[in-house]
């Protein structure tokens, strides 16, 4: 009986949709693999990809992990952001969708960031928009950079400093 109870307790302690990578995912040794096509071969090779995505949700039906829910983050003032570093981050993370000054072939999925200073948004508001924009618009396509662990708090502070500096 004691053994049975211990077993049940163990079962309860293990979440059913634990953070397991589904078996139909292209993963080897816990790392994201990319398919490699070999000409004139009947075999599909898999090589380690330059980035690892195993910690995020896949499209697999076996994937029982949950999407991180919309999260509020109360940014504490002062901003203390480095706008030069923010610019470098913006050219890495934002430029595909948003138009930034100086880009000659800009994206336009997101709103343009040129003359951003004129909007006079409060720093915490811009911070929240980058950290998790789903708070303002649940149907947004903008990634939640903070909630999904893509950018650290200081990174977002730097981005806000850069955006607020765009004349």
């Amino acid at each position: 009986m004691r053994l049975l109870l211990a077993g049940l307790a163990l079962l309860l302690a293990t979440p059913v949709w634990c953070a397991e990578i589904p078996s139909d995912a292209g993963v080897s040794d816990g790392k994201t693999m990319a398919p490699q096509i070999i000409v004139n071969s009947g075999r599909l090779e898999w090589a380690p990809y330059k980035r690892d995505f195993t910690r995020w949700l896949t499209l697999s039906y076996q994937d029982r992990r949950a999407t991180p829910e919309p999260t509020r983050f109360a940014m504490k003032l002062p901003l203390a952001g480095d706008k030069a570093r923010g610019k470098a981050l913006a050219w890495e993370w934002c430029i595909t969708c948003h138009t930034l000054p100086g880009d000659e072939w800009p994206g336009n999925v997101g709103s343009p960031m040129v003359h951003y200073k004129q909007y006079k948004h409060a720093d915490p508001l811009i911070f929240q928009q980058i950290f998790d924009p789903r708070i303002f618009n649940p149907n947004t396509v903008m990634p939640a950079f903070g909630t999904f662990g893509l950018l650290a708090e200081q990174d977002i502070r730097d981005l806000v400093a850069y955006l607020q500096s765009i004349e």
């Binding site: 949709w17 990319a34 004139n40 009947g42 995020w56 499209l59 039906y61 595909t96 336009n108």
Partner: protein
Amino acid sequence: MKTLSFLLAALLASATLAQDIPYREYEPFERYEPLVSGDLTLSGTYQYWKDPANLDYRLAGNPDENWKLNWKFMDPPFNQAVHGGHFAVDRGERLFKQLDVYGNFASCLSERTGSQQNLRAGYPRWRADLGHVAGLEEVIEHCGAKQGRVLQNGSYDNSAISLYLASLGNGQPINIDVSAGPMKEAYDRGRRLFHTKAGAFNFACASCHTHNIGKRLRGNVITTIYGDAAHYPVYRTQYMLQSLQLRFAECNLDTRTQPLRPGSQPYTDLEVFVTALTNGYPISVPAERDW
């Protein structure tokens, strides 16, 4: 003791119930028609590419406008100095004839008749022998294995055979029936999956290909999902020869989502959905696409 066991059982049941529904996000707007002209209510670009023989090549030469042709100007008779897709067709033909010496490879592929001209237009389809809906590439792997030939789903040789079979049906409209049975179930699952957000950026396929068609991601312009299945497997300059399901894997990688293996059920459901949105559009292979 009885109370304790009951309590534990109740706890277990509630835990399982709660855990059955993990939090998911979906892109809204699921209004599609399983017919290529349905694009008229999505992107409206169908008017520019509906007639492959009559494309307006002035649009093709303009980097601001060429996306409106849904890249159909790189379908045959594109033939810009014969691209790698043509070599793949030759390779596919050779392999097919090797495997089909006694006619059982072709009959395995089409289950009954052995007429290969209609194969591509009618896949994915329900396969009674496999017990599920399967894409053509999965069936090629299955039928190759019966003869001891390794033709992994997504491999060059597998896609080459698939491309050769598609080339036999060139000009024939894609025609899969998703109105009932397991095909309808697969279509519905695929449509739902198309709108399911996943990955580091929390993107669904629909985040771009339903809601942001015609917008720019720097040098790329997002195009419609209608009409895309007609030119697969496709020759792509970076991947050589790519099946539709490997394209999904690449899409996943590009949007920072862990890809799945070709032949997995989610990818097959997506293939059913995407192919149904090409219903009525003629097969055009071998085609080339950039990147």
